[in-house]
């Protein structure tokens, strides 16, 4: 996998994430349908967004760790306005912030649930969506059982 500065998929018109060099282990993880984040070797905490140092103890000594992929919906909004043509057939859709069991909160969509049924506190698990041949987005869906 290579860093990418492509902001838009020219075929579909969908916006893409910019892949920064230090974020490659995250994107290689999602490609394998796994969630990997940085974890501090000094204080043992995982953090997000991806960055060069632990925001809690400021150590730069970290390792990439696989996360459980389990968490709860901490916050959400429901988009009714489509910002780009790609979203016109997709509104309404939910953007959620999931608090992982490991602590960090991630921003994704919620799959397999009508937006109106989105609730704060709902248990969710990681899901994966291939959006180009190279890029797989982390998503969440309701936890099984």
């Amino acid at each position: 996998m290579q860093p990418s500065q492509k902001m838009r998929d020219e075929t579909t018109g969908r916006y893409l994430p910019v892949i920064y060099p230090e974020e490659l282990p995250y994107w290689e993880g999602t490609k394998r349908r796994e969630l990997w984040l940085q974890s501090c070797k000094a204080c043992n905490r995982a953090w997000y967004p991806i960055g060069p140092a632990c925001p809690k103890c400021f150590s730069m000594d970290f390792e990439w760790k696989r996360m459980s992929g389990r968490g709860k919906i901490h916050n959400y909004v429901i988009y009714h306005k489509a910002w780009t043509p790609w979203f016109e057939s997709r509104v309404p859709y939910a953007v959620i912030q999931v608090e992982l069991e490991e602590g960090p909160r991630l921003t994704t969509n919620l799959l397999d649930v009508p937006p109106a049924q989105t609730k704060i506190g709902m248990s969710v698990e990681a899901a994966y969506e291939d959006i180009t041949d190279e890029i797989t987005l982390l998503q969440f869906r309701p936890a099984k059982g």
Partner: protein, 386 residues
């Protein structure tokens, strides 16, 4: 409180303002900025030769192009980062520059088009991490409104209430705009018509969002002494405090709401959080009107709680029953604010404070206004005094 901080009180003043709001299809950001500057000079009764400092944000033309266009050399120039939360630091800097003698008069200028070539907002949401309002474009988390919507959702989750609690804010500010000849949104609005406006992003409706438009603004700051000899009565800068920032101060959010990686707790300002009052020698009870950054209606709730006008979770009741309207206990955004007067990146909010303290506001004048506070959810504040 430092000695310099104490000495700063009322030592600098605003001597002139110029404002343009609306659609200017034939104009460029540079041309709007230059005209606003001309208007502010005329308002102050000053000439461009009297101004030896220039400060602006990185909207529109750069500072060097502006100075080239107005044919002026200055001995103090600075250009800050784009975004409305940086207007207060820019005006504060102008006051500090004048107080320190680095310039005799500083013009803070602004010119912006709603859509123009090369605007930073077009790609800023792809910056490393999430965008400046928490945006993540691949997930369709787009637009500054996203930051206000996630904050409002958490606020309602923590304190109860819902979108309906925002209606009195939008309605109050629209009433104010209807008394303001410059305002761009003047159609009558009621709670009922608010509730019929379409969802942009639950929990926010169209009427919770400001309208982006073209605009130009200029504010001239000089010494209090000098300002007293000029055309208009001076509006003194009495106190100030900065934009609070960091993981606990996510944009468009009050601390404690749990947006992004924020901790979850009930925010109450401490003494340190209210430095501007100390500097000005006042408390929030002395404030005759509050001007707060209101690009989205929930920000009014956050501004009120940030400065202790009401306790945690109480702003949604406080904004009801006309309390924030003209004639109410604490008039808020008497021009109509960004929601209804128009979005000039907030510069128009400062200019309203100036016009109120000059007692120049006609039908929307706050009677006997002596002290007006600009204070927003990130804690940035300027206390203006007549």
């Amino acid at each position: 409180m430092t000695q310099l901080g104490k000495d700063m009180r009322d030592k600098t003043a605003i001597s002139g303002v110029g404002l343009m709001i609306g659609d200017f299809p034939e104009r460029t950001p540079l041309s709007l900025a230059v005209e606003a500057y001309q208007r502010a000079l005329a308002d102050a009764g000053m000439k461009r030769e009297d101004v030896d400092g220039i400060i602006q944000l990185s909207y529109g033309s750069d500072y060097d192009r502006f100075l080239e266009a107005v044919g002026s050399d200055v001995r103090y120039a600075n250009q800050g980062w784009t975004h409305g939360r940086f207007i207060a630091p820019m005006l504060q800097q102008a006051a500090m520059v004048v107080a320190m003698g680095l310039a005799k008069a500083v013009a803070v200028v602004h010119g912006r088009k709603r859509r123009a070539f090369g605007q930073l907002a077009d790609h800023e949401m792809w910056r490393q991490g999430l965008g400046p309002h928490g945006e993540s474009p691949a997930y369709g988390a787009m637009g500054p409104v996203y930051g206000a919507a996630v904050a409002a959702q958490r606020y309602f989750h923590m304190y109860g209430g819902s979108n309906e609690d925002l209606a009195p804010i939008a309605v109050a500010l629209r009433k104010h705009a209807r008394l303001n000849p410059l305002a761009v949104r003047k159609d009558p609005m009621t709670i009922e018509s608010y509730l019929k406006s379409r969802w942009i992003m639950e929990p926010l409706r169209l009427f919770d969002c400001c309208q982006n438009n073209d605009g130009g603004a200029c504010i001239i700051v000089t010494s209090a002494e000098r300002a007293r000899d000029l055309k208009k009565p001076p509006v003194y800068i009495s106190g100030m405090q900065g934009v609070h920032a960091g993981p606990q101060f996510h944009n468009l959010t009050l601390p404690g709401l749990g947006v992004a990686q924020q901790e979850v707790y009930k925010y109450k300002p401490t003494k340190e959080d209210l430095y501007a009052y100390e500097m000005a020698g006042i408390t929030h009870k002395d404030v005759d009107a509050l001007i707060t950054y209101d690009a989205f209606s929930p920000l009014v709730l956050f501004g009120l709680e940030r400065f202790g006008f009401c306790g945690p979770g109480e702003a949604r009741e406080f904004v009801k029953d006309g309390r924030i309207e003209l004639g109410g206990e604490l008039p808020v955004n008497t021009s109509g604010g960004l929601l209804s007067e128009g979005h000039v990146v907030g510069w128009n909010l400062f200019i309203e404070a100036v016009n109120q303290l000059r007692h120049d506001c006609g039908a929307r004048q706050v009677k006997d206004a002596e002290i007006i506070q600009y204070g927003s959810f990130l804690g940035e504040s300027i206390i203006f005094r007549r």
